[in-house]
């Protein structure tokens, strides 16, 4: 049954060294506050899954939390490269980074299989791409009803899924709206679920394009206003693009990154960005 806890206790209780973690939120509702807390608590050896590693995993990789990255598009959206990801993958700094690379459609379907309690699911994808041979958990499968060859992708079932959402109600149900990406599947696929929210409300009001995550699917909820900054939370604040551009410079060199890590994360000074 869900409980409410401050973010530090929540991460401490529900995210453990060596686990497989999925922190989702497709450009929207990225759980940065939770990511920063994971860095603060020096959690290690995570296998970290995300369609788009984005700044959140670039930061966690640079801080040495992630041993293996499972992803499908690894850039700084609209800006350029993820320098900490590159430095870890190409130069093993601060440690070796294993990768397992997919396509968006493939990784999405791996979550679908996990959510469905299946060992795999079937799709059209990867074939014709060199990725087919470089990745794992992706094989050809024959249709039993036609002579078509399709692609089977193995399920992913994270130990813990971490999401940021707009609202929880007092009973611990959670509501997200706007772009929800693979949030639904990441929750159903996971063994444990941690959600940070902008706000706890008395009652949800109808929104277009909303999904509700029932409280029985959630282990812990932490209030984290502006917890998705510098990404955005529809209805609360917009993407802070200047922070995405600034990250390019911070992450480019190890020393500027380490300074950021000390000043911003470990001193907890400005982690949530300027108050709007």
């Amino acid at each position: 049954m869900v409980k409410f806890a401050d973010l530090s206790s929540a991460i401490n209780e529900f995210v453990k060294d060596g686990e497989t973690i999925a922190m989702e939120g497709f450009t929207h509702l990225i759980p940065f506050a939770a990511g920063h807390e994971i860095i603060r608590q020096k959690i290690k050896d995570l296998t970290a899954i995300r369609l788009t590693p984005d700044l959140i995993y670039d930061q966690m990789i640079g801080a040495g939390c992630i041993k293996k990255l499972i992803f499908s598009w690894g850039g700084n959206p609209g800006v350029g490269s993820l320098h900490r990801f590159r430095d870890a993958y190409q130069n093993s700094w601060p440690q070796k980074l294993e990768i397992e690379e997919h396509t968006h459609a493939g990784l999405t379907n791996k979550y679908v299989a996990g959510a469905s309690g299946l060992p795999f699911t079937v799709m059209r994808g990867y074939r014709g791409s060199d990725l087919f041979d470089q990745t794992s958990g992706v094989v050809e499968i024959n249709s039993p009803f036609s002579d078509e060859v399709l692609t089977a992708v193995s399920a992913i079932n994270p130990d813990v899924t971490v999401l940021h959402a707009q609202q929880a109600d007092k009973a611990g149900n959670v509501m997200l709206w706007g772009i929800t990406g693979v949030a639904r599947e990441a929750v159903f696929a996971a063994k444990k679920v941690l959600v940070t929210v902008e706000e706890v409300v008395e009652e949800f009001t109808p929104k277009f394009n909303s999904i509700i995550i029932p409280n029985i699917q959630i282990d812990v909820i932490s209030l984290a206003p502006r917890g998705a900054w510098p990404s955005y939370a529809s209805g609360y604040y917009e993407r802070d693009n200047s922070a995405y551009i600034a990250w390019d410079k911070i992450a480019k060199e190890r020393d500027t990154f380490l300074t950021w890590l000390d000043d911003v994360i470990h001193k907890e000074s400005n982690a949530k960005g300027p108050k709007s």
Binding site: F26, T27, H28, L51, T52, F71, S72, W73, G74, G75, P77, G78, S81, F85, R86, Y89, Q90, E101, H102, T103, H104, A105, G106, T108, N109, Y111, V112, M123, R124, G125, Y126, R127, G128, S129, D130, L131, Q134, E148, V149, L150, G178, I179, T180, G181, V182, A183, R184, E185, F208, N209, I211, Y232, S234, E238, R239, N241, Y244
Partner: protein, 259 residues
């Protein structure tokens, strides 16, 4: 490069690529859009001759009508201006994989003569690349499933290579029969729009062939910027020159979107 032709008309590489791409889109098309120039071209087309162009972004925004250029594939603007926003399984399985998208719009770091594209790495090996790129994202399945794919890319020797270092998304593989071999049901790349002109697959061999040059661009210029022995169409055309109204539109769009 910035061209000056006729009276006082000048345009940048990006501008002529964007305008040329926009003109190709039809009012009735369903279009799966990536970020950057593809997105700018689609939004430009909607503001001009194709107001009903149906735009889908992989983030889940369906029939979106952004008034500003999105900063990312999941920009709030795309969600706010969408008819509906759905989860990514619906986007990839129900919309894309089912074959109902007319046009897929892709960029790339490298492209080869069979329009295979690379967005994964440049140089050395996959395990130890010289330059690691973002990877596939939606591109592999967009390239597989859309009725046609339009690729937008700057024409340089570094990008137009004899063989891509990594096939992230298949165009025509190694020629006739490759797409069929891998069960790709979409039609594959129909046009590659560059800063110098347009390439299209030869109807027989499927090899990319230069069919249009942009105004003021020479054959020599194109050859110099292509890493394989480029063929030219027997009926080469000159791309229509950007009109002042088009340039004004695109500049306004970019100005409005500056954040």
């Amino acid at each position: 490069m910035s061209s000056k032709l006729d009276s006082d008309l000048t345009w940048s590489d990006d501008e002529i690529m964007t305008i040329t791409a926009a003109k190709i889109l039809k009012n009735t098309d369903t279009c799966f859009v990536g970020i950057g120039i593809p997105s700018t071209a689609a939004i430009l087309a909607k503001s001009m001759h194709a107001p009903n162009l149906f735009l889908i972004y992989e983030s889940g925004t369906v029939n979106t009508n952004p008034q500003k250029l999105p900063l990312s594939i999941g920009d709030g603007e795309l969600a706010n201006e969408a008819l509906t926003v759905v989860g990514m399984p619906e986007i990839f399985n129900y919309w894309l994989q089912s074959g109902r998208i007319d046009v897929g719009f892709l960029g790339a770091a490298q492209i080869d003569r069979y329009a295979n594209i690379n967005t994964t790495y440049i140089g050395q090996t996959y395990q130890a690349p010289k330059v690691r790129l973002p990877g596939a994202g939606g591109a592999t399945e967009i390239a597989g499933a859309c009725k046609e794919v339009i690729i937008i890319i700057n024409q340089t020797k570094r990008a137009f290579v004899n063989q891509v270092d990594f096939v992230t998304s298949m165009g025509f593989g190694d020629g006739v029969g490759s797409r069929e071999k891998y069960g790709l049901r979409g039609g594959g790349p129909s046009k590659v729009i560059t800063n110098l002109g347009i390439l299209e697959p030869d109807p027989k061999t499927l090899e990319l062939t230069m069919t249009h040059l942009h105004p003021g661009v020479s054959k020599e210029q194109v050859i110099e910027n292509t890493g394989w022995e480029l063929k030219f169409s027997q009926s080469m055309k000159i791309t229509e020159q950007p009109k002042p109204v088009e340039l004004t539109k695109i500049r306004e769009l970019i100005k409005t979107s500056d954040r």
